[in-house]
Subunit: 334 residues, 2 copies
């Protein structure tokens, strides 16, 4: 899977900005891919990039119309569908991370076939991944591991990748979920891979590289989240990380979706993830801590970060508020 | 997936007894399902049960012809195929754990359709498993966890289940791999389940039960085997075990298929598996140790077991040589 860039971002009739978080991610992290936005009547999201028709986008060089918005009720509405069909007819590929797949819509399939265009459902693996072989690979890898799901692991990896590129260092963000894949145009939808091939898919995603190149592997789930811990484990072992960044959201009162489960402490995540990671890479170290302080106000967040930093003895930042410079410093100092 | 029992066991032209280990497992663990064996010219395996033609088997009540032998070169030979087509025509379902699927053979599909029979490829999930919800379930569960793959986890679970039934206790063996599924007629082919649903599949397999009922969950892989550890993790969290049995093969010099990876110690497996299992079930305990001593001679094995038992402070047996009575005692004493 490798999407054709640049993109025209389809925002549809997004009911609020949050519904367009995929488009926002692309605009924030790969602005060079985000030529313009296509909004329908009633759209309440705005990426602050040029509004374009399909024809405008093509003239500007766009190759793929990316559905950058969640749909309502799990269906592709007639209004959306007519835009998508037009896009195929005019020469766009379509890319989507929606649960309901483009490939399951006969009209879209027929139009794509008729016009020689591609439908990319980034939730669906398209590669026959190998079984992991555990062989040591060249290059360096950093994996974000969380106390819970949805605590900022993708954001942390993207921020570290951006900071390394800013410094002129060799760096790649390796997407393992649909938003990350749409942002970067490639990756592995790990939660949709068959169990036996999960770790092999992560090996495939992070191959041999220059000795001074860093892969920033997008984390998934948590070793302590009973629904998804197997996916996290495959990242820890298939990723063969040299460095871990611990990710946490301090205001959460229970594991996401599991009201009866407490969050683990950062110490538990550090010790467990490090011990397991060292099975695949005995040199693995914990480089730092990334805290999503969006639930704390401007007065409280800095105190919280300082307290955690002192307690854990590791550089502790909120990359959204502060950037990832100190985490990248930590990688460079390993 | 629930196979129709009893079975006629197809041994084909098995080149040696080891090739027929699926049939051997059925005969050893579910002899009431193994009405007879169907052998072709050149077969060098023998289950010591009556040789039957397809017609004999039907007359004796067999419902399913189970392919109890590995095939050579990953193809279903013309000789096998004519038997399988005959079986469908005469009224058998077919069940197979082969890599090459029955359902991918157009002739078998057509014959099954024509005769109203079913083709069971037990490597392929047939259920839309849920995402795990982590809710506490009633009943008791014991999970076999290994230092490595293929160290006797299935055997241990089957032996403990058999011993509990012998004592009149409530017990089920819960198969998670193709051999176990063919033996018991049902289960989840966990290594073929999509990542997001692994733990949910294990929850589905081991539902609420009587308070004094034990599920013996077939283990897979190892938390320390980098190729398959994600599958093991899903068993530890989805299985919500009350008890763990540690499984080990003492003569192995490296992890199976991974020449550069040492085996973990039993202490490492105990500590890691127990800590992770307690995320889902804080009451989980390690009940005992099962050692596959097939690589040790009659003089050495007892000494080895005694040494491990003293070192670990846990009942330590080879269930193949000694039965699983002491492991079941340990469950009863938890």
């Amino acid at each position: 899977m490798m999407l054709q860039t640049p993109y025209l971002l389809f925002l549809g009739d997004a009911p609020d900005p949050l519904a367009a978080k995929v488009a926002q991610g692309i605009k924030d992290w790969r602005p060079q891919y985000a030529l313009g936005q296509l909004r329908l009547n009633g759209c309440r999201a705005d990426m602050k990039i040029p509004d374009m028709t399909l024809a405008d986008g093509l003239a500007a060089g766009a190759r793929t119309l990316v559905i950058g918005v969640a749909n309502r009720g799990g269906v592709i509405s007639p209004m959306w569908k007519s835009v998508l069909l037009d896009a195929l007819a005019q020469g766009y590929d379509l890319a989507s991370g929606l649960h309901n797949l483009l490939r399951d819509d006969p009209d879209l399939v027929a139009a794509a076939h008729a016009h020689g265009r591609a439908l990319y459902d980034v939730r669906v693996p398209t590669v026959n991944y190998p079984i992991a072989n555990g062989l040591k690979r060249t290059g360096k890898r950093c994996l974000a591991v969380g106390t819970d799901c949805s605590v900022g692991k993708m954001y942390t990896g993207l921020a570290m990748d951006a900071e390394m590129k800013r410094r002129g260092l060799k760096s790649s963000f390796r997407a393992t979920g649909q938003t990350g894949i749409l942002i970067t145009g490639e990756g592995v939808p790990l939660d949709a891979v068959v169990a036996d091939f999960m770790a092999g898919a992560v090996e495939w995603l992070t191959p041999d590289n220059d000795p001074d190149h860093w892969d920033h592997i997008e984390g998934q789930g948590s070793l302590f989240h009973v629904s998804y811990s197997g996916v996290t484990m495959a990242l820890v072992h298939g990723g063969q990380p040299d460095a871990l960044v611990l990710c946490h959201e301090p205001t959460r009162t229970h594991m996401r979706g599991l009201p009866d489960y407490d969050l683990p402490s950062l110490e538990q995540v550090r010790d467990t993830a490090l011990m397991l990671a060292r099975v695949a890479n005995p040199a693995c170290q914990v480089a730092g801590i990334s805290i999503n302080t969006s639930g704390l106000d401007d007065d409280a967040f800095a105190d919280h970060l300082a307290t955690v930093e002192q307690r854990m003895g590791l550089p502790t930042v909120d990359p959204f508020r502060q950037g990832a410079a100190r985490l990248v410093d930590a990688l460079e100092n390993l």
